[in-house]
């Protein structure tokens, strides 16, 4: 036990002495958290549109004024030819071009069908779908209003199904409340993972590992001594990040904080264990870095922060059993935002506990006292 404490003390001294690393470890995650949380807004707020109005009539201008007054659309320019249209989309000035055909007003007056054309930049498929839906909605609204006001027909009773939506746990659909826990998980995991990954291999490269190897320090003591400091740092950063999220972004903490920290305490062993494992397997820092880079990026992308896990293909969902982030990502949101209790998170807790034990065991196998 005393040996272990000395080892932990040694690691802390090393960390504290590294004057470049220290601020990086503590300041960079916080800065990233505060800035990046704002980036994740999928609501289209400024769809840039251009108009090719071949009719130039009262009716077409009326329709366009609907787009003009919509908070989602930003007017770009009037176009006067098909070449203009193409250029507007090619150059990216417009996300959508609305083309109103000649005779638009006349057809409307005569109750004939009219065709309005939307040309949409489809490269970002998700955005293209939303853009089209918004544009169609405005057109529909204009068309429905026509009956009563402009065409001066008899008042038509609006018939149909009204759809009301209620959003629980986050009624204003504030995406920051969602992103803070998500990014926090990424940052804390990456910090722990990268730091442990770099640690042992560095001792190998510098040669100090041989000095440890000839001491009576046991294998588990050595590994625990490496884990403990980074585990503490990660826990501390999570606590600090939560506090910051609460103060700056008003992230609610509905569930039990104790439960969250219990889960984190078990969870953190997984990324730290992976770091150790990679570190033991590599000969130099370059190798460990590329391994870390590859798995880190893959795990982040598959964590469910960017795309819902259930929409991924089946095989990817199986791969996610190997992804520690995928265990934690739902849990932190469940506890913080929904107030889920111990039983709700138990399956994930058991999963990540098994995961951590296995990874740590593998790491201890991979680390040998011989060089």
């Amino acid at each position: 036990m005393r040996t272990l404490l000395f080892l932990i003390q040694k690691e802390f001294i090393q960390i504290a002495r590294n004057k470049t690393m220290l601020p990086l470890i503590f300041i960079m995650p916080i800065v990233q958290l505060v800035i990046l949380v704002y980036a994740a807004d999928l609501n289209m707020k400024s769809i840039e549109y251009s108009v090719f109005d071949l009719d130039a009539s009262h009716a077409s201008r009326e329709l366009l004024s609907h787009y003009d007054s919509s908070p989602f659309f930003d007017t770009q320019e009037q176009l006067f030819s098909d070449e203009d249209m193409e250029h507007s989309l090619k150059s990216g000035e417009a996300d959508i071009v609305i083309k109103i055909p000649k005779g638009f007003e006349k057809s409307l007056m005569n109750n004939e069908s009219v065709e309005v054309q939307f040309l949409v930049d489809g490269i970002n498929n998700a955005a293209a779908v939303i853009t089209t839906a918004y544009a169609q909605n405005i057109l529909l609204k204009y068309h429905n209003n026509l009956g009563s006001s402009w065409l001066n027909l008899q008042e038509v009773q609006a018939k149909g199904i009204e759809i009301k939506s209620r959003h629980w746990f986050n009624p204003e659909l504030d995406f920051k409340v969602y992103m803070v826990p998500g990014i926090l998980v990424l940052l804390v995991s990456m910090i722990g993972w990268i730091l442990t990954a770099l640690n042992i291999v560095r001792e190998k490269e510098i040669g100090t590992i041989e000095q440890i190897n000839v001491t009576p320090v046991r294998k588990y003591q050595f590994l625990l001594g490496k884990l403990a400091p980074f585990w503490l740092i990660a826990m501390f950063e999570l606590a600090f990040g939560l506090l910051l999220g609460r103060i700056l972004f008003g992230v609610p903490i509905i569930g039990s904080v104790g439960l969250l920290f219990l889960f984190t305490a078990v969870y953190m062993l997984a990324p730290l264990g992976i770091g150790l494992l990679f570190s033991s397997l590599s000969n130099n820092q370059q190798q460990v870095m590329f391994l870390t880079f590859f798995f880190n990026l893959t795990f982040i992308m598959m964590s469910g922060l960017f795309t819902p896990v259930e929409s991924m293909p089946n095989w990817a969902q199986y791969v996610n059993y190997l992804n520690p982030l995928a265990y934690f990502m739902p849990v932190i949101r469940m506890v913080l935002l929904k107030g889920s209790d111990f039983l709700d998170v138990l399956p994930n807790l058991i999963g990540i506990a098994i995961y951590s034990v296995v990874v740590l065991y593998l790491a201890s196998l991979a680390y040998r006292k011989r060089v």
Partner: protein, 369 residues
Amino acid sequence: MRSFTSFVIKEFHHIFRDRKTLIVLFGIPVVQILIFGYVITNNFKDIGIAVMDQSNDIHSKGIQSKVFSSGYFIYKGAIRSEKEIESKFQRGDIRAVLVFPSKFTSDIEGSGSSEIQIITDASDPNLANTVVNYLSGIVRQYQVQKLGNGLQKSMMVVETRMLFNESLKGAYMFVPGTMALILLLICALLTSISVAREKELGTMEVLLVSPLRPAQIILGKVMPYVGLGFINAIVILLMGTLVFQLPISGSLILLMAELLLYIVLSLSLGIFISTMAPNQQVAMFISLFALMLPAVLLSGFIYPIENMPLVLQWLSYIIPPRWFIIIVKDIMLKGNGLEYIWDETLILTGMTVIFIIASIRKFKIRLEG
């Protein structure tokens, strides 16, 4: 010049001697493109929702069958009271509940109107929003098909054409994004380590006392990796076109030139990082930890830049992938020529020059104690 050539040859030896790194280096783009291609496609499907149907009649069932045959949603059981919803949300079983009022069909056929409620688990607000949009779309469609819109007047036909990506494939978005991301990170990692490593192992002093000038050392460090980076880029490009069927509508030569520019930019960014970092640990920490998330989030790869607050939009200007993604999309998908992307190209060139000059100036000829 001769000493310079032998220096470059030495760098090549360093690279090829480390087999493990080489394998990882070329494995990364292949595996990552495949994984992201099939996983991160922004396709919305298989979302679990439950139904609370208080009328259980023709139209409520009709709408349900439309909803669950759409492929977007999976039926996760019936719910009888609102109390059950909360615990289902808390366990994370379902993302939304579709609520039909009692007497749904008779209301629609009688008074002509009724109301459907969608209750979402908005702890993921973006998804909640999408769920509402898709569900509303399905209900509207049902309404038009089965009930008519109740208005006797001219038809408004909307013809929508998706340009550059007619079948709305997710790959069109993410292949350029992944390419920008992987190239930047790999190249920056490679060079940032390379200089810091010489410092740490003490071989830097040998280089410093050699007749090589700082500019030559930096150039010699960058050159071998240009080849590696370029091969990587070609692999990604081939995967994109062969596996995910991306077109190359524009000029291939222009695309290659831009790729080369971007690789040199990323490599010089790595060199720049390494001139500031005292050892490999710091160099890697910066090029991995500080670069990865901003490059993912601020490049427009996943979240549209136009939606971000202004400060973040300004910040995104200094993120190289932001510009490179535009260039790749323009050339490959829109078939644009240089006249459309000269400004982005100029920005990337400017960044490269700044990084190189800054590195040469920061490059210390002496090692301090």
